[in-house]
Symmetry: C2
Subunit: 749 residues, 2 copies
């Protein structure tokens, strides 16, 4: 077992090394700090913050668009509490009496919604503190996103709010919308009606709030609270996630991120969400160089390497999606109804075209559409005309639509009734929920429709397996349809492409549950790292139980020849020096030497090349046997500026260089994590015996890679990079053929 598995909660702690080798002294904090929220941003505090009954609108004015929006938002959300304008000059604002200063309020407001210019914000926060306000939303921009001075100003603001006991959302944010409680201190247009529901939303880009709520409305997806995060000076995405985890009205969490902020805090929130069974779905920008530029311009965030972000979100079981539509649709699959427990799907449609499209998308996403059990087929066939083909996917055909019925139920409903009892299915995708756009004028027909959907709602609620409903295209659910569907607890996904992607996202979340761990603080890359000599690097890794190829340090041609003869030919020679990390670039490496004479000659060449490059500092020349056959891997630990230490593993040669076939994990990683990394490589088959190769001992390999991570972490904040390239594997034999360690401090002596 890999040490990380034994001490998952203390990733930076020292480790004992199998085999009793020397222990490199750990650098960095030994005690894992608490990664939970601070008191001012605790779930309990935020529950209060997000449900204000008295809101002071500081800086409200009829000439300000923001003010107009805030009053309109309160109306859209049906706010029944008090909105009190605070303005030094105006006596009324939009018909409401204003006070001059916060201190003039008869009783403290629950929340100050601060719309004053940037330069006046600090004073308002002071006044808030004096007036006993416990919460403030700050709209003004010109902080972190405006460079170093702005960042300092922001830190000052947050620090002062902390001292005054004020929970601060923003700055540079638009507020929030608590749909359940009808509180919407929010400064842009809101779509109407807002439907309360189980999806909590946190957005780094406030201007997207209207778009997100508009899509939610169009698909009848209910929202608990939407929070715009702004610059996250105090309340962060992680805090809002933890609030949602504790909020009984929220069943799934959507976040739009431009950066991940404090990775350790986010991981703690993700762990809590995973334990609580509340999925987090994330839309994160920054996968393109231009996207990174946009994020910089917007909030001044540092956006890390996107492949690392991908790996990190996966590790935290945060479902990463690609669009606003997918964000909400994926959350709705998990927020409504019961959750599919596997990938075997029954498909019921009223069109052969939809059947084919669903099958294609499902196949691409890794779903299985198994044949129905005989009893299911028989039960469905009883309700279809003789010429119909009963199979999975099922097309009941438009036939039933054209035949007047006395019964409220249609053949596809009977098919649903049968399919949910099929023992070979994990869930049913039901594309039979199309409603007319408006209530039929014919009362009998309207009543029949109502009966049908009431039956469907009951059948779905009591079905032994989940039923996911699907509309054939992504168009708005009309008011009439939304009313009928919502009343009966039916929540169709918007379109085949989006719907199948959302179910796939939901399944990925379910499949990865239970493995999220809170990460420790992430060390930064050292700015002045230098390479160790290969001999030091080899010893360092050997002490962590990583096997290296045998090597002798020779200081003469004769010694080299003797060593070569002992190892057997062919051998390799390379100069050993801390000053030459890339030896082959300068000719300080000789490979495939077949005789003592060749070794002697090569010794001179390698030594001369190294000395020509560095002058002195050559420790000698390393002689090693040459390995052939087997598989070569690349394995390394580097420091991502956002995510900290990352383990990268790939197959050597074209796999990395041409195909970029690599797998990443934030450290620490257990050996089972690493086994997962190997399994996700496209070239994985080469390890398990493809093309007549000998299968590799994957467990042993995973342990070695796991120890590489341990070794790298033991360097703490001094770590810059540790790399094995290649790591040679042949059957059960594993050897690091070439190693590199770069750190701020040199090797421990």
């Amino acid at each position: 077992m890999c040490p990380a598995e034994r001490f998952p909660a203390r990733p930076w702690a020292p480790t004992t090394v199998p085999g009793g080798g020397a222990i490199t002294p750990p650098i960095g904090p030994l005690v894992r700090p608490d990664r939970g929220p601070a008191p001012l941003t605790s779930p309990a505090r935020l529950a209060e913050f997000f449900a204000p009954r008295r809101i002071a609108l500081v800086g409200a004015s009829e000439t300000s668009g923001w003010s107009r929006f805030v009053f309109a938002a309160a109306a859209a959300a049906g706010f029944s509490g008090e909105l009190i304008p605070v303005h030094p000059v105006h006596r009324t604002v939009f018909g409401r009496p204003a006070v001059r200063r916060l201190a003039d309020l008869a009783a403290p407001a629950d929340l100050a919604f601060v719309m004053v210019p940037t330069h006046a914000v600090a004073e308002i926060i002071e006044e808030s503190g004096e007036a006993g306000r416990r919460g403030a939303v700050v709209l003004a921009s010109g902080y972190r996103e405006a460079g170093d001075a702005g960042r300092a100003e922001q830190d000052l603001l947050a620090g002062r709010a902390r001292e005054l006991g004020i929970t601060l959302l923003g700055p540079n944010c638009l507020g929030f919308v608590n749909v359940h409680d009808g509180a919407a201190p929010f400064a842009l247009t809101l779509p109407s009606p807002l439907t309360p529901g189980p999806v909590g939303i946190a957005l780094a880009s406030g201007a997207l709030a209207g778009v997100v709520l508009g899509f939610a409305r169009s698909r009848a997806i209910g929202v608990s609270t939407l929070v715009t995060l702004g610059n996250e000076a105090m309340v962060t995405a992680a805090d809002v996630i933890e609030y949602f985890v504790e909020d009984d009205r929220t069943r799934a969490i959507c976040v739009f991120l431009e950066d991940v902020g404090d990775v350790a805090r986010l991981s703690a929130a993700a762990e809590r969400a995973d334990l609580a069974g509340k999925p987090i779905v994330a839309l994160k920008t920054g996968s393109s160089p231009a996207g990174q530029r946009a994020a910089l311009a917007h909030t001044g965030s540092v956006t890390g390497n996107d492949a690392v972000a991908n790996a990190a979100l996966r590790q935290l079981n945060i479902i990463r999606v690609g669009s606003i539509e997918e964000l909400l649709t994926t959350a709705s699959v998990l927020a409504y109804g019961s959750r599919p427990q596997g990938r075997r799907m029954g498909v019921l449609t009223a069109s052969g075209g939809a059947c084919g499209l669903i099958a294609d998308h499902a196949h691409a996403a890794g779903f299985e559409i198994p044949p129905f059990a005989p009893q299911t087929t028989a039960a469905i066939a009883a309700h279809l005309p003789e010429f119909a083909t009963v199979g999975n996917p099922l097309d009941v055909t438009g036939y039933f639509l054209a035949n007047r019925r006395e019964d409220a139920l249609t053949p596809i409903d009977h098919a649903l009734d049968a399919a949910v009892a099929d023992p070979g299915l994990d869930f049913v995708l039901f594309a039979g929920v199309t409603l007319p756009e408006t209530r039929p004028a014919d009362e009998r027909l309207a009543a029949q429709l109502e009966d049908r959907f009431a039956w469907l709602g009951r059948r779905i609620a009591t079905a032994p397996i989940p039923v996911v409903c699907l509309s054939p295209a992504c168009v708005d659910v009309t008011n009439y349809a939304r009313d009928v569907l919502t009343r009966h607890g039916i929540h169709p996904l918007g379109g085949i492409d989006l719907g199948v992607r959302a179910i796939d996202g939901a399944l990925r979340w379910l499949e990865r549950r239970g493995h999220v761990r809170t990460l420790g603080p992430r060390p930064h890359a050292s700015v002045s790292g230098s390479a160790w000599s290969e001999l030091d690097a080899r010893m360092f890794l050997e002490n962590f139980g990583i096997p290296t190829v045998p090597a002798d340090l020779a200081d003469s041609a004769d010694a080299a020849a003797v060593a070569a003869q002992r190892f057997g030919f062919p051998v390799a020679l390379k100069a050993c020096s801390a000053l030459i990390p890339h030896k082959s670039d300068i000719g300080a490496v000789a490979l495939g030497l077949q005789s003592a004479a060749a070794v002697r000659a090569a010794y001179g060449q390698v030594r001369s090349a190294a000395e020509a490059a560095t002058g002195t500092g050559i420790e000698g020349v390393l002689v090693s046997p040459l390995r052939g056959g087997g598989v070569e891997l690349l394995a390394g630990v580097t420091i991502d500026p956002v995510f900290g230490p990352v383990l990268t593993v790939g197959l050597g040669g074209i796999w990395v260089e041409v195909l970029r076939d690599i797998s990443l994990r934030l450290l620490p990683a257990s050996s089972s994590d690493v086994a997962g990394m190997l399994a996700e490589l496209r070239g994985h088959a080469l390890l398990t015996g493809a093309r007549g190769r000998e299968p590799v001992d994957v467990d042993a390999l995973a342990q070695v890679l796991c120890r590489l991570g341990e070794a790298a972490l033991s360097l703490g904040d001094a770590l810059d990079c540790v790399e094995i390239n290649p790591l040679w594997v042949s059957g059960t034999r594993i050897e690091a053929l070439d190693v590199l360690v770069v750190s701020e401090k040199g090797p421990a002596t």
Copy 2:
């Protein structure tokens, strides 16, 4: 130059071989048949067919749902012509006077819409003919999709219609909707309103018509005519495409296909569409095994291998998409406004979040977002607050929304004005077209909005580069917004994900224009193919100018040793026999023989193994030099049951076996086609000098592969497969190391 390039119109014609080698006699048709539509399905005839003014509804009855739908569809489409029920019993149907038989009509109807049961259809067609009807739509099912008897019945029906001069749509179809002319003989619910416009639609699955038209309405995409194809007994998808090509009101064509039908006919239609500049966008099912099952159940089509379908559609410059939403959105990009000519995009948004998302999607799809020219930046900056960052992608921020304006134009409009003049951009993606859901009650505001959109419409129409408008999410365009946008010629795409994919699809179409060629008739796979002896296969390919590795046919161990000495060691031996296509499986191959003694020994073993496997029929043992280094490819021609002869090219080893890295083209393929195949291989870099390899003569390689296609086609209908595996390439040296030919007839003697 490869022969196929010289005779593109006669792909099956005999070819002269460079170097004056023997010519294999061509088999199969020498004369290319006309691939245009038959007179009854010509564009002119269909133009008449799709614009009926008098429609006889044969079998109309108030007890039939179909009839109800047809009357409702006529109302939804605003049909102003005559609907005449024809029924043997009913005197009126839904209030309209009925006639008993078609012959009883005072004047012939333009179209018979036939809703009678399957067994009565043939008689109605006879009556139609007698009554001088020129067109019929047949709803009844139970034909091709019902097996062999149904298929025969369908052939009979179509044949009789042809004799009677009747254009027949269906059977098993739901009719069509001509939106411009308001003619909708169509038997399911239609969404209302129907907006006339430039997108023509043909659907293999009639039940999807409502979904497709519903999505078109939701995104304000106007439709010219929608046709449901049913079983395509006479009128096929290709015919409808050619009708759309000639139809001035159609600018882009959408097709939903379950199978491609007659590939040669489709290719002719695709060539005409490409020449006319009318893009075809296709949604085709069958990419999954289950999808293929669904298609079979639905219309009894044979769905071919999906990778071949992908290659074929690409070759025909038909844009393949993955969803109904993408089908219409892609068509709308190409149907409305001017078309982007390149991938350098300017991006204008009012939200940093949208900026980042667009940048990410654009990057993934291969778009470039270059920095603005200095004059563009300066012009935009003049309209933004000082703290705003001006760059591409541009976020004008929500700022402007919150400030009352006297001017109708907003900062994002001024940014558009500047960006369209930027010399470094090919088009502008403009996400600034959000409208309120309803007309503002404030008349001044409503007029200001109208002025703004009028200005935008004019600016877009006169801009030197195309402007593609984008809504931030895929939600319905409201009636008010549809009205304003359509009036000013503005057609926003529905959401970032869908929008960027659609623009990418449009660009792919533009990039591939001008290369579509009508394909000849596609031979079928022979059922009784047998392998040729390797010596015959080698000679056959050599006659087409394909270099093969030197080989001597030895009939004794001594002769083998002499040949080996002449070639130089190491050599390979393999048994030569038409009866052993896979020699290495039975031990009839020996590789890496280093001496005459080894060759002698191996001769005996190889010969024995071959004789043990086949008894007699051994022509001898082939001796060849062994090749090393370089790159090995796999190249072969096989017959796809739908698409006919297909050339497959891939890199050997893991590339094909682990990564499935292959490229396909329907034959004939020119050497530039083949060069394109090589370029799209993921391992292409291995051919151009990656990892220190010697670059390969790609032009010469492409010519050899092109000749392989020629050789295969020369076998005509007898062709089963021709394969070179491996094809060895090292610098300028190219040699087929192992070849296989399987055909119905043996080699020409």
